[in-house]
Subunit: 185 residues, 2 copies
């Protein structure tokens, strides 16, 4: 792996673990085993490197969501597969956690890839729900955009509950609760 890639990987890990405010350029360089000169050769600064890191994490997240939502089955089965897939629950979401970072939300450029990723996941879930509604599996009156927001919120909030408790059970409960409501339709 080249130095540029090592810097992006180290930035992804540190942003996930410590957030943007809690990550110094020096910490990224140390984890990447790269010098200061090398970092500034590849990136104008912490912000440019963070943007590259966030974009890479976003791509992986969207690809993973797409894989689960593409599986054969009914809409509810596909959403169940997405919600139940193996996750590092106690680490939380590498994208969602950035919304608690004051320097990310205050900067439109840094916030943009976070917003875009969550918006695309909601849109993808709404598509699946639309298919379920068209197939008569879900009620015709269902507001699929709202329910897609609920499903993503359950994941993001489930991480919050699990991290507070330092165990994954509250995440699993939150997911079970929404799936129980969804499957009784």
């Amino acid at each position: 792996m080249g130095t540029r890639e090592q810097l992006v990987d180290s930035a992804r890990e540190l942003l996930w673990e410590r957030g943007y405010v809690g990550t110094s350029p020096k910490a990224i360089q140390q984890r990447a085993g790269a010098g200061q000169g090398s970092m500034y050769h590849h990136f104008a600064g912490k912000k440019e490197l963070a943007l590259a890191a966030v974009r890479r994490s976003a791509e992986e997240l969207l690809a993973a969501a797409d894989e689960q939502l593409r599986t054969p089955g009914t809409a509810v089965e596909r959403i169940t597969a997405y919600l139940r897939r193996e996750r590092q629950v106690l680490k939380g979401c590498p994208i969602g956690r950035l919304t608690q970072d004051p320097d990310i939300v205050a900067d439109p450029e840094l916030r943009a890839p976070v917003d875009e990723t969550l918006t695309r996941i909601r849109a993808r879930l709404a598509e699946v729900l639309d298919e379920g509604r068209a197939a008569g599996e879900l009620p015709a009156s269902l507001d699929t955009a709202a329910l897609a927001a609920t499903i993503v919120a359950v994941l993001q909030g489930g991480y919050v509950l699990a991290r507070a408790a330092d165990r994954p059970e509250p995440f699993d409960q939150a997911v079970s609760g929404v799936l129980a409501l969804l499957t009784t339709h």
Copy 2:
């Protein structure tokens, strides 16, 4: 207001805005208009001050939840009142946001009041759902503990979506989605 109270209030504001990692003792002192000596007269350090601040925020949050959940009406009406009450959506939750703070979740003492607050809100919601189930308003098969976790997760995740978008609409959508599922029972 005495200096001690001013320090706790400033710490609460800064923890809400910038988190624990992003808040220095100096920033708290400056916002409180207090000197370093004065802070260390009242508190052993940043951690002790943060604990006092988190406990105060937790009390307010629990009192507000209790007020909404105590209103007359059916279980679903009371939960609707709780979910729809006026909130500073773009600021997020002063307690939930701390779960994204690496120094909070790594320290059992700092994590304890965060966990306890979210656990108590879930327990309170489960009680309301239990009452609705006993009254025949909700199905007998309902897992009320799981659904309580879902409801708190929708709030916490709704903040994530709203902060990513820099507008409150995704929060409102997430809440509408779960209420629609709940009311069709």
